[in-house]
């Protein structure tokens, strides 16, 4: 039995402890905002927050999340997330959109720790998130815009 908190709700999971967190979210809890892209921690589509830091849920066995606080795109609501989501909408970042939950979770984690990231900071923090539609140019712009909104600059 593994206990953890997902989006503020305590959960007890009686499952194979090797099950990746991604499949608990998707198949058991039907929270499908978190996506499968590679299953090998190479693309970032499955990014969620564990105790505030971005992790790749496809490669995180639930046994490693015992007692942790997990936040997904469905539950997160920090000021950084709100600023990111708004900037994403204002700049119309999305194309197919499939990678974007992961992008937004990574961007939110960046702005939670770095209020005024440079392009180089953004490249470092976001380089684990692939976007085949190559929305990268707008992602950079949107993160700067969200940072401004959060008061880093403006």
């Amino acid at each position: 039995m593994i206990s953890l908190t997902i989006n503020g709700k305590k959960r007890k999971l009686d499952m194979d402890p090797n099950t990746p967190l991604l499949w608990v979210l998707r198949d058991k809890l039907h929270m499908t905002g978190t996506k499968l892209g590679c299953g090998m921690a190479l693309c970032g589509a499955c990014t969620v927050h564990m105790n505030g830091s971005p992790v790749r849920s496809c490669s995180l066995p639930i046994s490693a999340a015992e007692g942790a606080k997990i936040e997904t795109i469905e539950g997160i609501n920090s000021p950084a997330f709100q600023a990111v989501q708004q900037a994403w909408r204002e700049l119309d970042v999305v194309q197919c959109g499939y990678c974007q939950s992961g992008q937004i979770m990574s961007a939110t984690a960046l702005l939670q720790t770095n209020k005024n990231p440079t392009d180089a900071d953004i490249d470092t923090a976001m380089s684990g998130n692939l976007c085949r539609c190559a929305t990268y140019h707008r992602i950079r712009g949107a993160i700067h815009q969200a940072a401004d909104k959060l008061g880093g600059k403006a």
Partner: protein, 737 residues
């Protein structure tokens, strides 16, 4: 992609002229199997009951809303629902097509919503493809341009007629603007007249706007899919949940064209959560309660494969076979003047041999499909790009009549051509689901499955010889393109016109440069690997070949690459337009910082011209980075400028990804790549700054989903050529020169 290429060109021409003549347009539409406004009338009549029902129930759901024609419904709360006949895979058609209707309807952008059309090749066919519903060839806006404007204009006229009758005023005096119908001091929203208006006859010749009156077309408007795609709420095939649904993972043979010889499924069947293990022509499927159970059990399958029909060669042997073919005579696809004689006379002949690898689509959403088979019917949920063809293929696989195959289309997490295939994965899913009737089965591919079962852009080899005159003109160009066909050996083989698949030399035989002696030959090379259209198809590699060779010729002529191109493009004003705009906006000719070089490329595909200037920084150790790309595009009327910019940015990013690092290679016939560690995609740190400039135009709109991709590889290679003096003729370029 070049689906139905040549047949389509005729239809396109019909449709182009239809922009000028509505009569021709209506003929073209009815020839395509569906009489738009006529069927709109019929649908309107058939929907009377639905409309009445909706009033009685005061329903606000779009499903019961008054229907104006095949493309739109308006509910009493004034929400206008647009029926989108194309798949949205990121290219923004849900926004684009909706804006065409909204424009002519004079609706407000906020009141517009949309849903995917059902499979129906009479009402929702691609007007360029005859009676076939499908998305591809960057044709969504282009084929819908007049159709949807007229659908919007017809509905507007019906609303106005209903208001005129109620207010007892002449229809001509009624104004409609931003979702409000008004006359003098009276005004109303659409909802109040929706039910009555929908009962009126559909005008057969609704007048469309003069482009100078456009309110939405040509303006930057917010995408309709942004909110749900930034909240995790957008539903992709991967996300569908249905009662009692099972998950299937497939053990495929290690090489395409392999077959099952013997299976021992005992351990897999006994694994927790497994419901069934089923065999079908292309593999063995484990069907389980969820993904993880299916994945664990799949590892327990013991399968012997028959690989006797599979490829056995490695990539270097395949390239050698292509070079051997290229050095022989191919099939003539273009022969102007006498290139051989001109080359024989030339003082200097420039020669180049190119190699382009297989590349794969690698959309971030791996391939998947949900199917439920009942006794006499079947229902699918997936990102369906070719409803008509998928319907037929599933019908053939299940023995169910095509009209009883219901398709629910969902967002695609990317496609780039992969979902427009001859239905391979859809048929696999149907073959699995039919063995578990009554249960919805979600077939999921992992990334490894997706790369293994990918259908790649064909590998290619090009041999070129060219010469320039002392005055700096190209006097001769002799070109032999060798590549694997895309349609050969598939159910679509009949679409190949002539002796060679048209994708082998597209963008070469019809290059926009004026060259007096041009000989282009093409040869198909048979390889036992599956191929498919990959964003911009033959253009994706051929533009690299043509544009880098042009720079080699410019150098031989001792000319600046832009000046050199201008002369060759004097007869092609739209090509010249994008060339000049990109040159101007990138300050071509101005000096650059130490270590930075520029390269340019211009290419036309799917009716759209694109020029790109790449600025590349080359370090002393030979490593390089593309820092900035300036892009000019001429796609006719710019329907949604911000979507156009996004598609150029995306095309540049994907094209750069392939140019720098993507290659599928074979070792003794087996694909060596399996996931993103050995098939690396472009990441954010390698993405340049991108600037997009759109040429103002009143021409018919043409596509933007693909044309942004072809020039970038050549632009980058030309910048590296300028920096080092060494021509680059192999892709991928890698990260060092």
């Amino acid at each position: 992609m070049n689906f139905l290429k040549r047949q389509t060109i005729q239809a396109q021409q019909n449709s182009r002229s239809s922009a000028l003549s509505r009569r021709t347009f209506l003929q073209a539409v009815s020839a395509g199997g569906g009489l738009l406004l006529g069927s709109g009338f019929l649908i309107g009549s058939a929907s009377v009951a639905a409309a009445d029902k909706s009033i009685a129930a005061a329903s606000t759901t779009a499903a019961d809303a008054p229907v104006f024609n095949a493309f739109l419904k308006i509910t009493p709360d004034s929400k206008v629902t647009m029926i989108v006949k194309h798949l949205d895979m990121g290219q923004g058609v849900s926004t684009g097509l909706t804006s065409l209707v909204a424009e002519e309807l004079d609706a407000s952008w906020e009141q517009m919503q949309w849903e995917f059309a059902p499979a129906d090749n009479h009402r929702y066919n691609n007007l360029f493809w005859g009676p076939t519903q499908g998305t591809g060839g960057s044709s969504s806006i282009a084929n819908s341009w007049m159709q949807l404007r007229e659908a919007g204009a017809a509905a507007r006229a019906m609303l106005v007629a209903a208001a005129a009758a109620e207010w007892k005023v002449p229809a001509e005096e009624i104004r409609v603007s931003n979702g409000i119908i008004s006359h003098g001091t009276r005004s109303s929203n659409f909802g109040a007249f929706a039910a009555k208006a929908s009962l009126l006859p559909v005008p057969q010749k609704p007048a469309v706007k003069d482009p100078k009156d456009f309110q939405l077309i040509g303006k930057t408007i917010p995408r309709k899919d942004s909110n749900e795609k930034t909240s995790g709420k957008a539903i992709y095939t991967q996300d569908i949940q249905l009662p009692g649904m099972l998950t299937a993972l497939v053990a495929y043979p290690p090489q395409v064209f392999g077959k099952v010889k013997k299976v021992n499924a005992a351990k897999a069947k006994a694994s927790p959560g497994v419901v069934a293990v089923v065999e079908f022509p292309r593999g063995v499927a484990v069907v389980a309660e969820n993904f993880w159970a299916a994945k664990k059990a799949r590892e327990l399958l013991k399968i012997e494969w028959d690989l006797s029909a599979c490829e056995t060669r490695s990539s270097d042997e395949l390239f050698k076979a292509c070079h051997d073919a290229a050095s022989k005579t191919g099939i003539s696809v273009k022969n102007a003047g006498d290139a051989i004689a001109a080359l024989a006379k030339a003082k200097q002949v420039i020669e180049a041999k190119y190699e382009l690898p297989y590349v794969t689509h690698a959309a971030i959403e791996p391939i998947n499909c949900v199917v439920k088979v009942e006794k006499n019917s079947c229902e699918l949920w997936f990102a369906c790009q070719m409803p008509t063809i998928d319907q037929q293929q599933v019908a053939a696989a299940t023995g169910i009549k095509p009209e009883h195959v219901k398709i629910n289309t969902l967002y695609a997490g990317g496609s780039f051509g992969r979902r427009a295939c001859p239905s391979d994965y859809v048929v696999d899913a149907a073959n699995i689901a039919k063995q578990i009737p009554g249960r919805a089965v979600k077939m999921l591919w992992t990334r490894e499955d997706e790369i293994l079962n990918a259908r790649y852009r064909p590998m290619a080899v090009h041999h070129i010889r060219g010469a320039v005159s002392s005055r700096g003109k190209v006097v001769a160009w002799q070109h032999h393109a060798v590549a694997q066909a895309i349609l050969r050996g598939t159910p679509f083989e009949g679409f190949i016109q002539g002796e060679v698949d048209g994708t082998v030399a597209e963008g070469i035989e019809d290059m926009h440069y004026t060259i007096p002696n041009l000989q282009v030959q093409a040869t198909e090379i048979p390889i036992k690997v599956s191929t498919l259209w990959w964003r911009s198809v033959g253009h994706s590699g051929n533009a690299f070949v043509v544009e880098t060779f042009i720079d080699q010729l410019a150098k031989a002529a001792n000319k600046d690459p832009v000046v050199f191109r201008r002369k060759l493009l004097a007869d092609t004003p739209r090509a010249l337009g994008v060339l000049n705009l990109a040159a101007e906006k990138s300050a071509w000719g101005n000096s650059l910082p130490e270590g930075v070089a520029r390269g340019i490329a211009v290419h036309k595909s799917f009716g759209t011209w694109v020029a790109q200037v790449a600025e590349v920084r080359v370090k002393d150790d030979g490593s390089f980075k593309v820092e900035r790309v300036v892009c000019a595009v001429d796609c006719g009327v710019a329907v949604n400028p911000d979507v156009i910019r996004a598609q150029m940015e995306g095309g540049i990013g994907m094209g750069l990804s392939a140019a720098l690092g993507e290659a599928i290679t074979l070792k003794k016939g087996v694909v060596e790549q399996s996931n993103f560690h050995n098939y690396p995609l472009l990441r954010i740190d390698a993405m340049p700054k991108v600037e997009v400039h759109i040429v103002p135009s009143a021409e018919m709109p043409s596509g933007v989903g693909e044309p942004g991709l072809p020039p970038i590889a050549g632009a980058v290679a030309n910048a590296l050529f300028a920096a080092t003096g060494k021509p680059l003729t192999k892709l991928p370029l890698g990260n060092k020169v």
